[in-house]
């Protein structure tokens, strides 16, 4: 497979996964803003998905409709959902002969949806939840189309690895930012809403309830998000699947490239697997998450260097 094509579809998957993750985070923040408007702030999300100056931030953060429009629809915000979808579609266009027609059509539909007046109206003036849900459904259709129509070849490998790598990054970031912003309540464990929001943001609330029978405590949540093997967004689960798909790539790789990446991915998976962090020590947790994040980025850079011909 051409290096450029591999790069393109790997990033296509990353953009789509990122869009899905950020929409869910925005959705949960929006819910929180309606539940407890007094001690709520949009600041962390605005920092994560945009680059507003201090004045712009101050002017925007009080106005929920404006915040949502900026995060989701703003063409001038490079990190907005709109731009992610746009990028994903451009990537799909330039690798059209390596993805199936169905996958292309889903992306094309998604792109037309996020540009539509209907969604914009809903997010700005109507019920933003409906607007966000409609967009996320397109994301789900995309994932389904990939699952059901793509041949299980090299291309599928890059698509899946892009998705898993991005998901691991998102989990790490969401956990770190949520935890850091609510360090006190997270440690004491008395204020369950924060933990619930965290789990919701990672699509893990239902599974957590089933696993721990409604018993909310910070250590269990941490264990769950980092290590639960049934939870599709847990760090361990992302990394073990990443290794699995990477091993499938051996036959299509240069031996030296394969060895280099195999070492990095394996080390990272073990680093997470054998980590001991606890909710009682937020600083240690923060360091661990930052370290993990850096290693994930290193893996991404190594992919670029050894497989996608980036220097």
């Amino acid at each position: 497979m051409l290096s450029r094509v591999a790069d393109t579809i790997y990033w296509l998957a990353r953009y789509m996964e990122r869009t899905q993750a950020m929409l869910q985070v925005i959705r949960i923040y929006y819910q929180a803003s309606q539940d407890s408007p007094h001690d709520f702030s949009w600041r962390p999300v605005l920092y994560s998905y945009g680059h507003l100056s201090a004045e712009e931030l101050a002017a925007t953060e009080g106005d929920t409709a404006r915040v949502l429009a900026h995060l989701i629809l703003d063409k001038h915000n490079d990190a907005s959902a709109y731009n992610n979808v746009l990028q994903a579609r451009e990537n799909a266009r330039s690798a059209q002969d390596h993805i199936t027609r169905d996958v292309w059509q889903c992306l094309n539909d998604y792109y037309h949806a996020i540009r539509s007046e209907e969604i914009a109206q809903q997010i700005r003036y109507g019920d933003p939840m409906s607007g966000i849900d409609a967009l996320m459904r397109h994301g789900l259709v995309f994932t389904g189309a990939v699952q059901n129509t793509m041949p299980r070849d090299e291309g599928y490998g890059y698509l899946t690895m892009g998705r898993l790598l991005e998901r691991a990054l998102q989990t790490t970031d969401i956990l770190r930012i949520r935890w850091a912003n609510n360090a006190d309540s997270m440690t004491s464990g008395l204020d369950a809403p924060e933990l619930r929001y965290l789990l919701h943001s990672l699509f893990g609330h239902e599974l957590y309830l089933k696993t721990y029978r409604g018993n909310f405590n910070p250590d269990s949540v941490l264990q769950f998000v980092l290590h639960n093997s049934h939870f599709a967004h847990s760090l361990s689960s992302c990394l073990s699947r990443l290794s699995w798909y990477f091993e499938r790539l051996r036959a299509d790789s240069l031996p030296e490239s394969y060895e280099r990446l195999e070492f990095m991915v394996g080390r990272l998976a073990n680093h997470v697997k054998y980590s001991t962090v606890s909710a009682a020590e937020p600083e240690q947790l923060n360091d661990f998450l930052l370290e993990t994040r850096q290693e994930l980025l290193d893996v991404a850079v190594a992919f670029g260097k050894y497989y996608f011909g980036r220097s």
Binding site: L2, S3, S94, S253, L254
Partner: protein
């Protein structure tokens, strides 16, 4: 007979050959089609028209117009009424194109080697050497099987007398073949069962024929030569066609940055390292192909590819330097070429062409500019031309000045009235002007022309410009079997 309301409203134009009607009667090749649609209710025709549009949009058969940094999806307008050509007529066209292509190919071989045609005084040397598309770099380059014009999209028009004329040969990177294929597949959806009933010859073999020819050009001793399609990328207006052809042939679609030249061999960068490329079907123009030899600012090409080509380590389709045979001033010599190289009389007619570098002809054209089409010799796509009958005095004056300054870059032709054919527009049949672009494939085994082609339509009422960049559309083209 025009009994049905839909047909009844149709107005034939005076002094224009109509493809479907002749003196109020339906031509024989259209009868089967007309009998199939004449009893359809009005609403059904409109429904078919809408279905066609929907199919184009949902299948992503679109081209993107980039405007203020934002892409806008457009469909290439499609008219649901097919253009139909009878068998005998097609045989004539086919023979004419084969003859022309054969002669043009020998001309290219000759002009880049011994230049007999110049030495024998058939074509003036000044005409060749003043052509910017004549590439001195191609002199004495051996191309595989001596084939230069692997793919040609010959533009034909039909004058009021019913004769076909060649307008352009398009020997560089002709486009539109994907629309020929897509138009046919759309027609089969909106008029179920009508194609087999009408004995329409299939066009679906095109990608297989092309791929067979490309494979045959690989000269490395391997069982499976690597063939790629080189595209300028997603911002090119024909990008849809590039992906379609690559997909239909199952070959890799590459961009310039995917290729690298090492030791006069071309390689593509893959996830498993470098892989040698044997044949390149390029859709990048000559001047952008190699920044070391042609335009140094080109980011679309591959540095060193010319040298690899010259050494015979890679085949490039179409060959470089074909533009000299596409030059509109050289065009007028094609009948002479046919006589000189093949010792035959030309089968297809050419439009009389006046060289603006000839003072007598220039003065004659200046006097009757309103009856002329003025064209730049090296442009296509409907750019750089003036149609005298619809031009203002200022526009004519601007052309007169430009011609006086650089006469070699212009030619003039009398205005040929393109034939018309009914189009279904706003619920009624209206006459619109059309041309015809069949696609010819020249391979080591000979020339193949898929029975069909792209019929382009000037959708503006009364317009004679069919180019898609100037608001043209297209139709499915049926060639009937025996």
């Amino acid at each position: 007979m025009k009994e049905h309301a839909l047909l009844h409203a149709y107005q034939e134009q005076p002094n224009v050959w109509d493809e479907m009607f002749h003196a109020e009667h339906i031509r024989p090749e259209y009868r089967s089609f007309v009998s199939a649609i004449e009893n359809l209710p009005h609403a059904e025709m409109t429904r078919k028209d809408e279905l066609a549009k929907k199919l184009f949009m949902s299948q992503g058969i679109t081209f993107t117009v980039y405007n203020s940094g934002e892409g806008i999806e457009k469909i290439f307008p499609f008219d649901i009424i097919p253009r139909i050509i009878q068998h005998q007529e097609w045989k004539h066209i086919e023979a004419g194109i084969k003859q022309r292509l054969l002669a043009l190919n020998i001309f290219l071989k000759d002009i880049y080697h011994q230049q007999f045609i110049v030495k024998d005084g058939v074509i003036p040397a000044a005409l060749i050497y003043s052509c910017p598309q004549f590439l001195r770099e191609m002199v004495n380059v051996q191309v595989p099987y001596d084939i230069y014009t692997h793919i040609a999209g010959v533009d034909l028009i039909r004058d009021a007398d019913g004769q076909f004329y060649v307008l352009e040969d398009n020997l560089r990177t002709p486009s539109g073949v994907s629309y020929m294929l897509e138009n046919r597949s759309i027609t089969s959806r909106i008029f179920p069962d009508l194609l087999p009933k009408s004995n329409v010859q299939p066009v679906k073999d095109y990608p297989d024929l092309l791929f067979r020819n490309l494979l045959a050009l690989g000269n490395r001793h391997v069982s499976d030569p690597t063939v790629v399609l080189l595209s300028p990328g997603i911002y090119n207006s024909a990008y849809f066609e590039h992906t379609t052809l690559a997909r239909l042939m199952g070959i890799e679609l590459v961009e310039g940055r995917d290729l690298i030249v090492h030791n006069h061999h071309v390689f593509m960068k893959t996830t498993k390292g470098l892989r040698q490329v044997d044949v390149i079907y390029r859709r990048v123009d000559d001047e952008f192909l190699d920044p070391l030899v042609f335009r140094p600012d080109s980011a679309l090409g591959v540095p060193g590819i010319y040298a690899a080509y010259r050494k015979g380590n890679v085949a490039i389709v179409n060959a470089m330097g074909n533009g000299v045979a596409d030059d509109k001033a050289v065009y007028s010599y094609v009948p002479e070429m046919i006589r000189y190289y093949l010792n035959e009389e030309p089968i297809l007619k050419t439009v009389p062409t006046y060289q603006m570098s000839n003072p007598d002809q220039r003065n004659m054209v200046f006097e009757r500019m309103d009856k002329m089409v003025i064209k730049r010799t090296n442009e296509s796509g409907g750019y750089g031309m003036l149609i005298g009958s619809s031009a203002t005095e200022e526009q004519m004056q601007a052309f007169r000045e430009a011609i006086t300054e650089d006469p070699r870059s212009f030619i003039a032709q009398p205005i040929i009235s393109l034939s018309s054919t009914p189009c279904y527009i706003n619920g009624v049949l209206q006459p619109r002007r059309v041309d015809l672009r069949p696609f010819a494939l020249y391979g080591p085994g000979g020339i193949d022309i898929v029975p069909g082609g792209l019929t382009r339509v000037a959708l503006q009422e009364g317009s004679l410009v069919v180019n898609s960049s100037q608001g043209g559309g297209s139709k499915d083209t049926w060639v009937l079997g025996e």
